[in-house]
């Protein structure tokens, strides 16, 4: 076992203190997104996921697609977003979520160095599965960047074990078969996956995709260490919600998790 990096160490400590973990997402470069990051931290996020928008987000539903398109239209680039993070001082670890081509195009070493310079601890690359990880890991590990791997409801046991062993920071459990976006109901498969992941690893397990509000967040966190909330927040932002409202919604998620 290697020493956990700063992201994983922080999440482990929060978990040890008896807390369910909350990781909200915001698309970088969209409107007043840096204010949103601060509000999320203030409302009780344990880490914050920042999306670097990509032209072809094949794993994302309509809300995050629209947020990505809008951010790109506003001129967002990986460099402008990482610049924005540099002096944000959120007080919690930052995780970047993007598609692999932005990393590949920049070059693995340069991209890892840029993340470090921006104070980012971890990264989620949904289109870079375990088998394709090595060239990126060769740059990320020496730079101290924690790469979070995803597992899904139909991931077989042997793959699940390998994913858990390779994942750093936390393990991302995908609640459902499908793309990002709120769901009124997230099925039993989420709980089954959460229990399988918890059996397989001591690394924190966070469940994401489909989370629409506080009650659901509490239910989904019950079998895992916490939840990731993205589209529910981004839908509000795209509809023009002020930062206060995002803060209030995040506070309600926090309260629901603390009550569980």
């Amino acid at each position: 076992m290697t020493e956990p990096g700063p992201l994983e160490a922080h999440l482990r400590a929060q978990r040890a203190a008896g807390r369910k973990l909350l990781v909200p997402y915001v698309t970088g470069g969209l409107g007043a997104w840096t204010d949103v990051v601060r509000a999320l931290a203030d409302a009780g996020a344990d880490a914050i996921e920042i999306g670097l928008p990509f032209s072809d987000p094949a794993m994302d539903g309509p809300v995050i697609q629209a947020a990505s398109e809008q951010a790109l239209a506003e001129g967002a680039t990986p460099a402008s977003i990482l610049d924005g993070l540099r002096d944000i001082d959120a007080g919690v670890p930052l995780v970047v979520m993007t598609y692999y081509n932005l990393v590949f195009r920049a070059g693995h070493e340069r991209f890892a160095a840029d993340l470090v310079a921006a104070g980012v601890s971890g990264i989620i690359l949904p289109d870079l599965p375990l088998e394709e990880q090595p060239p990126w890991q060769a740059a990320a590990v020496p730079a101290g960047i924690e790469t979070i791997l995803l597992a899904g409801p139909i991931t077989p046991d042997d793959r699940l074990k390998a994913l858990c062993a390779a994942s750093r920071g936390f393990v991302y459990g995908v609640n459902l078969m499908g793309i990002t976006g709120e769901r009124a109901v997230v099925g039993e498969q989420s709980a089954v996956l959460a229990r399988r992941l918890k059996d397989a690893t001591d690394t924190p397990v966070l469940m994401g995709f489909g989370v629409s509000g506080p009650d659901q967040a509490r239910q989904l966190a019950a079998n895992a260490d916490g939840v990731i909330v993205a589209s529910a927040l981004m839908r509000r932002l795209l509809a023009g919600a002020p930062v206060d409202e995002i803060h209030a919604f995040t506070t309600s998620l926090r309260a629901a998790l603390d009550g569980s």
């Binding site: 990509f54 032209s55 072809d56 987000p57 094949a58 794993m59 539903g61 697609q65 398109e69 790109l72 680039t77 990986p78 460099a79 692999y100 081509n101 932005l102 990393v103 590949f104 195009r105 920049a106 949904p126 289109d127 870079l128 599965p129 375990l130 088998e131 394709e132 791997l149 995803l150 597992a151 899904g152 409801p153 139909i154 991931t155 077989p156 793959r159 994913l163 995908v174 078969m177 499908g178 793309i179």
Partner: protein, 405 residues
């Protein structure tokens, strides 16, 4: 490749040291290819690869597919020598007539194979993307034939310029869903099809229409089109007294018709030429990148955002290219050139007037390159893959001509 092989072992590659043999176990042609997909799709790609290996080594499957290709799709397609055009250009021009296949293009070869494979995997629903609509029509056709449900994603822009094919798919019982995002063309239809597949993978097969996407698609789709290359080689040898053509030319969108005909000649002395549209020249203008599950050449900006292709032909309006073409370009076994929309329209009219064959706009690219290069090709024999017929494009060309006159 008709020997039965134990299911646990991969079938022998058709040419052991071929330029177009099997990719590496991780699905690579040189540095290109691979499997850049979400974890939720990984089990499906692994299952598909195993199912294809198993089926491809199974003489019963091969016989069933050959039967469908013959009795349903009309294979073998003829090889036509262009007498008047050869006289006019000084280049001996042969056409592989994939336009005469059922549904009007080469796309049916791949689709019938994947549809049989879908049945073999116990799935009942096909998802597909389409640009010009030819792959969508072929998929809808196979779905009707086999009683499958069928959903085809198509960019909104393409739904307008290929309206007839949209209606054709609906007539065949398929549901055509518009892709509203991005450039609203083929690239976005692929994104939508992948989004559908992630949610339905346990019951649906993604019937990808070109030699692109994650492993095993680039390899599998090429193998399913190999039949046209093998036929063309034997047909040209019997026409040319045992010789091969000097040059083999095909248009390249994702690259499936080109891969099919190249695979028949990769291990001969024939030069291989792929022709891209100037506004969608992934190899010509691209740099390596990763999208739609594969590493290949990709039109992208300096940070890695994928650029929108611009072409008169919906079927070639794609910023990427199949990974094996990236590899063939890199090692120099095939050369890739591009032609502009005006050259394509000229070629479209030329073939129609001199040979009485209305080509699709896609293969008109291949002919356009030959016409441009007629001086350097003088006296040589050139085989063009006429990948589809032009019926679908007649209305679009009529509009363009009306606007120009």
């Amino acid at each position: 490749m008709t020997d039965p092989a134990p299911t646990s072992e991969p079938p022998a590659a058709p040419h052991p040291a071929s330029f177009m043999g099997e990719p590496s176990p991780d699905g690579r042609f040189g540095e290109f290819g691979g499997r850049y997909i979400p974890e939720t799709l990984m089990p499906a790609c692994i299952e598909l690869e195993a199912a294809f290996r198993d089926a491809w080594a199974d003489p019963v499957f091969r016989a069933e597919l050959d039967g469908l290709l013959r009795d349903y799709a009309g294979r073998p397609s003829p090889l036509t020598e262009c007498v008047r055009l050869s006289e006019e250009t000084g280049v001996r021009i042969l056409l592989k007539r994939e336009d005469l296949n059922h549904t009007g293009s080469h796309k049916i070869n791949n689709v019938l194979g994947q549809a049989l494979l879908t049945k073999r995997m116990g799935k009942q629903r096909l998802v597909a993307e389409t640009g010009a609509g030819q792959h969508g029509v072929a998929t809808a056709t196979a779905a009707a034939l086999m009683g499958f449900e069928c959903v085809v994603y198509m960019g909104e822009v393409d739904m307008v310029r290929q309206e007839l094919n949209v209606f054709r798919m609906r007539l065949l019982g398929a549901e055509v869903r518009p892709a509203h995002s991005g450039s609203r063309t083929l690239k976005d239809a692929v994104n939508e099809a992948m989004r559908d597949w992630v949610a339905t993978v346990e019951t649906s097969h993604y019937c990808l229409g070109s030699v692109m996407g994650p492993h095993p698609y680039p390899w599998m789709v090429r193998e399913l089109h190999r039949v046209l290359g093998d036929e063309a080689r034997e047909q040209s040898r019997s026409l040319l007294g045992g010789a091969d053509p000097d040059v083999v030319v095909a248009c390249v969108g994702g690259g499936s018709n080109a891969a099919g005909i190249f695979s028949g000649f990769a291990d001969t002395d024939a030069e291989l030429v792929g022709v891209e549209p100037a506004g969608g020249a992934a190899i010509g203008r691209g740099v390596p990148g990763v999208v739609h599950g594969m590493k290949s050449f990709l039109m992208q900006d300096e940070v890695g955002q994928v650029l929108e292709a611009q072409s008169i032909s919906a079927g070639l309006d794609y910023p990427g290219v199949g990974p094996e073409h990236a590899h063939l370009a890199e090692i120099g076994r095939a050369k890739y050139h591009s032609v502009n929309d005006d050259e394509v329209l000229d070629a479209f009219v030329t073939l129609t007037r001199t040979e009485g064959i209305i080509p699709a706009l896609e293969p008109a690219h291949a002919l356009a390159w030959v016409l441009r290069e007629r001086a350097s090709l003088a006296g040589r024999t050139v085989l063009i893959n006429l990948s589809g017929r032009g019926d679908k494009d007649v209305a679009q060309v009529m509009d363009i001509m009306a606007r120009r006159s």
